[in-house]
Subunit: 189 residues, 2 copies
């Protein structure tokens, strides 16, 4: 049994509440094993006790599938099950942080906690990438998201694959640029 | 947008409480999207409201990785993120059902709810399969499992790849045969 990669740790980012979770992989002749989400250990390290009620998976066949940027009205815990993807986030919450961006490469040993109001997107860097995430509210077709265009020039996300070669849904091509986005207000409790 | 496969449904099996969940995949040019676990819809269809606190992933590099058969002291919701695996279950709970077995092929459009006390195992049918599952209690190195050997002649699981060619951990090779297993007692509430 070998330990691949680092011990479990959680890092902050320039976006308030957006957290990078480094995961430990335990390797052996079969492959590896990981605790992808572990409430008790991760809450002790600073992950919110977010209480997921849904797990989604998207399968992305071609290289360069680009999905986003979506700020749903719930928190998300995102990663890839296999392969590599470029992840990007833009803060759409009202206040000083509005428009702050962050990006990193997603692989099986890293996950990201995305608080509600922060727009989430990714681009696949290999074929056949399964992207998966946990959320703490149920999606419905009527759910209203805050959205920003993947090509927004202010956020200026450095997508590794030029958007002209990327595979983007018609819906995602229609999202507004940052200067037309209404900032997401803090939730009334 | 095409719909691949069947609408969401839940089926019972010969093992009491072991449920097969058929998942809907929404296909498009990018690949597909699925709700892998959706508390509200699935509870309405009969899935227990099991309250996961941990998500695990195992990566299985060679064909024929065989893991099991483990009856942990918590419920599990298991499937593959990608690829195909043969899943097998043996009821280790005391009572008339003790020793009842069930098997099916796991693929991204099927998940299985495994109640505590039922031993879980699988064998990969392709290279590079990511197997993932949600559980409703935290694992610890001291956790005591009920275990039964993958080669047990009574359960007689029809593994597609002969065990002589399978990749099995030393730990899993050491588990007892069914006639030496102490049945798992119902939990005191
Ligand atoms: C988000 C969601 C979608 N759907 C359905 C609606 C569509 O038929 C199909 C795909 O939905 P789309 O809206 O195109 O999904 P997509 O562009 O991949 O975006 C989703 O998945 C992305 C990750 O793949 C997330 O980053 C987005 O926030 C999320 O909205 O799945 C569900 O049935 N349940 C869901 O939770
Ligand atoms: C189950 C579990 C294991 N581990 C560690 C202990 C070891 O260093 C490494 C692999 O553990 P093993 O006991 O060999 O895991 P494995 O044989 O794959 O069995 C586990 O994973 C199987 C699926 O891959 C499940 O069907 C089993 O019930 C589960 O116990 O991961 C964790 O850190 N957390 C866990 O939750």
């Amino acid at each position: 049994m070998t330990t691949l990669g680092q011990p479990l740790s959680i890092e902050t980012t320039p976006i308030d509440g957006l957290l990078v979770v480094r995961l430990q992989l335990h390797g052996d002749a079969r492959g590896w094993f990981k605790e992808h989400w572990q409430r008790e250990k991760m809450v002790a390290l600073g992950l919110p006790d977010f209480g997921p009620v849904q797990q989604n998976v998207s399968f992305n066949a071609p290289v360069g599938v680009t999905r986003g940027l979506h700020a749903e009205p719930w928190d998300k815990y995102v990663s890839v099950a296999n392969g590599r993807a470029f992840g990007a986030w833009v803060d759409l919450r009202e206040g000083d942080g509005f428009g702050t961006t962050f990006h990193l490469e997603l692989a099986p040993d890293v996950a990201v906690f995305v608080p509600r109001g922060v727009a989430n997107g990714f681009q696949t860097l290999e074929e056949n990438v399964n992207y998966m995430y946990l959320v703490n509210d149920h999606w419905s077709p009527e759910a209203r998201y805050a959205l920003v265009n993947v090509a927004d020039p202010t956020a200026d996300v450095p997508w590794p694959i030029p958007l002209a070669e990327a595979v983007v849904s018609d819906k995602d091509l229609g999202h507004p640029m940052l200067d037309a986005v209404t900032p997401v207000r803090a939730r009334e409790t």
